[in-house]
């Protein structure tokens, strides 16, 4: 994919559902519409911002939908923010849809009625509300605000302020998508589908003025993926905040929705959701990409090199349309998957936090990326891009079909194999006998080496000198219970020795030492090194026992030199 335009300082803060590529003017030239989190809507045409509008609230999601079916109709833009959906036409505010109010708990309602009509004083109301809260009632936002006030005067002022105000409980939009009405085309009439904080999914009519269908879920919807047509058959896959994926589909009669029994329970929270045909793709917080069949069966799961930041469907229009999955990762990589095969990977300068695949300008197969630093990048896919690369990997490797080079059978080889067939038993016996003989010889020479003490010299790093000649001279100083073992090490050989561990071996029930081993880094030829090792007698009667001092060698298990010391009786500790 080639970058056609990169604006590192676009300062856009948005997520994927607020970025859309849309034909807003009906001239088959798509523009990029971004609902920025800084309450701005920007319109990019080509490489320039052609319009910027102030929004009334922080956008949650932005959708583009067609309200009428005539061929050259202009789409409306719905921007969800707070508990409203603001609908724009020709980039001008046109209509505001407010979410229906939530029913308030009757207990809550009655307490407020009594408080505002001063049948109950503020303090008693406070007590009743906190009791209701402890009793598990779902309180309204008024009550929650009221209960959070600490001072008596503040509470009274709050009740005063609510006098004469209708007690309403609003909910907020958590996600929004669109659903086509009766046919599947780019500019077909479509409705807004809204997920709300109070676990509802609402489908509006195409004009966006009233709710025509609703469903209640066990948890708050966070992401939705929609298939089908409202008038025919539809299915909404909803990822909820409880980490489960629910499916809502049309019921028997029109305007009726059913939450199906298919619930996909995920091990970790999902952070993105997409759907291609009959498969649901999602990435989870543990950095994996999973695919489920719409009926709930898991198809595959891939582990990604970094957690995914966003996921989208890339509809690659060519002579045949391919729906690929585009995933952006936390390490700035963007990957394109066809099913489970990786078909393309590209490294971006910035971590992509939002992206949208579609037509930009007049070029299909474009993609807008928004980076974490607010950068905006537009890429277009070359017509010649190879998307079949991934498929080759799935089959058997090409090497399988290349025949091995088998050498020709010579006369000698044939004779030899004939002889082997005839005298198999005899040959085997001879071989076994020789093998045993070899092992015996090896074992004998090994024993010889051990007994003669040559081993140390052989592996001792003595270098040119061959056999090393290291002398240990140990003297015991002290009366006890602490003894100093004065060890004098002399290298009598020609070559110097390196890295020699010197250790004292003793019976731990009699002696104790803080430092039973010392490394001698370098032992020059004919130089005496003196090392003092401390031993403490811990025997209750101060009995002496033999102690060994061993000068080891890092390269061999056979020590270079060893000394046996007879320790004297120890004075008892007072």
């Amino acid at each position: 994919m080639t970058t056609i335009w990169h604006d590192p300082v676009a300062s856009i803060k948005a997520h994927s559902s607020c970025v859309r590529l849309v034909d807003l003017n009906g001239d088959r030239s798509n523009i990029l519409l971004v609902a920025d989190d800084n309450k701005k809507m920007r319109v990019y045409k080509g490489t320039s911002v052609v319009a910027e509008h102030q929004l009334l609230d922080h956008p949650v999601s932005m959708c583009v939908f067609y309200t009428s079916g005539s061929s050259n109709s202009m789409p409306a833009v719905g921007i969800a923010g707070g508990s409203y959906v603001f609908i724009y036409r020709h980039l001008r505010p046109y209509f505001k849809f407010s979410l229906p109010c939530v029913e308030i708990d009757p207990q809550d309602e009655s307490i407020w009625q009594e408080m505002t009509s001063e049948q109950v004083n503020c303090e008693a109301g406070y007590q009743m509300l906190s009791q209701a809260r402890d009793g598990g009632a779902k309180l309204s936002s008024w009550s929650l605000d009221f209960l959070s006030l600490e001072k008596e005067e503040q509470r009274q002022a709050y009740v005063q302020a609510k006098k004469g105000v209708e007690h309403k409980q609003h909910t907020v939009v958590t996600c929004m998508e669109t659903m086509k009405k009766d046919h599947d085309a780019e500019d077909a009439v479509s409705s807004l589908v809204i997920g709300t904080e109070n676990n509802q999914v609402l489908i509006l009519d195409p004009s966006g003025s009233k709710v025509i269908c609703q469903a209640l879920l066990p948890s708050t919807p966070a992401m939705m993926a929609i298939t089908g047509l409202y008038d025919v058959e539809w299915r909404i896959v909803v990822a909820c905040r409880d980490g489960k994926i629910y499916t809502i589909k049309n019921g028997e009669s029109r305007g009726n929705a059913v939450v199906t029994g298919t619930v996909i329970e995920l091990e970790t929270q999902p952070n993105t959701l997409a759907r291609i045909e009959k498969y649901i793709y999602l990435t989870t917080m543990d950095g994996s990409l999973s695919c489920y069949h719409i009926k709930g069966r898991k198809v595959f799961s891939l582990s990604l090199p970094a957690p995914a930041t966003c996921l989208g469907v890339a509809k690659i229009s060519r002579s045949r349309t391919l729906e690929a999955l585009i995933v952006s990762l936390g390490n700035g990589e963007v990957r394109l998957y066809n099913g489970k095969h990786l078909i393309h990977s590209l490294q971006m300068d910035d971590v992509v936090v939002a992206m949208r695949w579609g037509q930009f300008g007049r070029e299909q197969n474009s993609c807008a990326f928004i980076g974490r630093s607010g950068s905006l990048t537009l890429k277009m896919m070359s017509r010649h891009a190879n998307l079949e690369k991934g498929d080759a990997i799935s089959g058997p490797p090409a090497e399988q079909d290349i025949p091995l080079k088998v050498p020709k059978k010579t006369k000698l080889f044939v004779e030899q194999s004939e002889r082997e067939v005839l005298n198999a038993t005899h040959m085997h016996r001879v071989f076994q006998r020789d093998l045993v003989k070899l092992r015996l010889t090896t074992a004998r020479s090994y024993v010889k080496v051990i007994t003669s003490g040559e081993g140390g010299g052989g592996g001792g790093g003595g270098g040119g000198g061959g056999v090393t000649n290291v002398r240990l001279n140990v003297s015991v100083v002290g009366l006890g219970p602490i003894f100093n073992l004065k060890v004098e090490v002399t290298n009598g050989g020609v070559a110097s020795l390196r890295d020699l561990p010197l250790s004292v071996i003793y019976n731990t029930s009699v002696y104790r030492s803080d430092r039973p081993a010392v490394d001698i880094p370098l032992l020059l030829s004919n130089v005496t090194v003196t090392v003092v090792l401390k031993l403490k007698n811990v025997h209750p009667e101060g009995a002496g026992e033999n102690v060994r001092v061993v000068l080891g060698n890092k390269k061999s298990s056979v020590p270079l030199a060893a000394a046996l010391i007879t320790m004297p009786m120890s004075e008892l500790e007072e």
């Binding site: 056609i4 080509g46 007049r362 070029e363 017509r383």
Partner: protein, 191 residues
């Protein structure tokens, strides 16, 4: 060439057959441009996006033109290469207002130049930097830089700013092309 034909040609009686391929991205103005190359009698006015391709035949500058007007839409672009073999010249139309897709156009051009049936022949290439009247249009020099036309060294090429709606610049380009085609054919005739 027979003696009789030579005489005919000298008197401009036997016209040479020339096949031209017109390509470029969608919405660059290929069909509108061809309407202006055609003698005015056969011009049509309503222009809609071409589906597949159109073939136009007319005579001009003492040449019989057969023009293949290819659709520039992404899904039809793979048709272009089937005509490379049989044509004597290529007209490549660029929308000079679409600076965004200049790289797409450039990508298509490099695919064209590296195509085996074109890389061995030195066909003349005529570029029209179309829509020059629109404010904000790139100049032919800018288009040339964007498309890396300087890199083409093995074949004659020419770039002209044009306005396919009024026909400005079209004649100049076609005159250059006719000249090159005649030159090419005479060279071919000597061989």
């Amino acid at each position: 060439m027979g003696f009789f034909k030579k005489i005919q040609k000298a008197f401009g009686m036997l016209r040479q057959e020339v096949r031209i391929l017109v390509i470029g991205l969608d919405n660059s103005g290929k069909t509108t441009l061809i309407n202006h190359i055609k003698p005015s009698s056969s011009s049509t006015f309503e222009v809609t996006p071409t589906v597949g391709y159109n073939v136009e035949e007319f005579s001009k500058n003492n040449l019989n033109f057969t023009v293949f007007d290819m659709s520039g839409e992404g899904r039809y672009r793979n048709l272009w290469e089937h005509y490379y073999e049989s044509v004597q010249a290529i007209i490549y139309v660029i929308d000079s207002t679409d600076s965004l897709r200049l790289c797409v156009s450039s990508d298509e051009l490099s695919t064209l130049l590296s195509h085996p049936s074109l890389s061995s022949r030195s066909l003349p290439l005529l570029f029209f930097s179309n829509k020059m009247d629109v404010p904000g249009a790139l100049s032919p020099v800018e288009v040339m830089k964007g498309m890396e036309l300087e890199e083409i060294k093995d074949r004659p090429w020419h770039i002209t700013a044009s306005n396919a709606i009024t026909g400005a610049g079209v004649e100049e380009g076609v005159a250059w092309l006719s000249e090159k085609i005649i030159e090419n054919q005479e060279r071919g005739g000597h061989k």
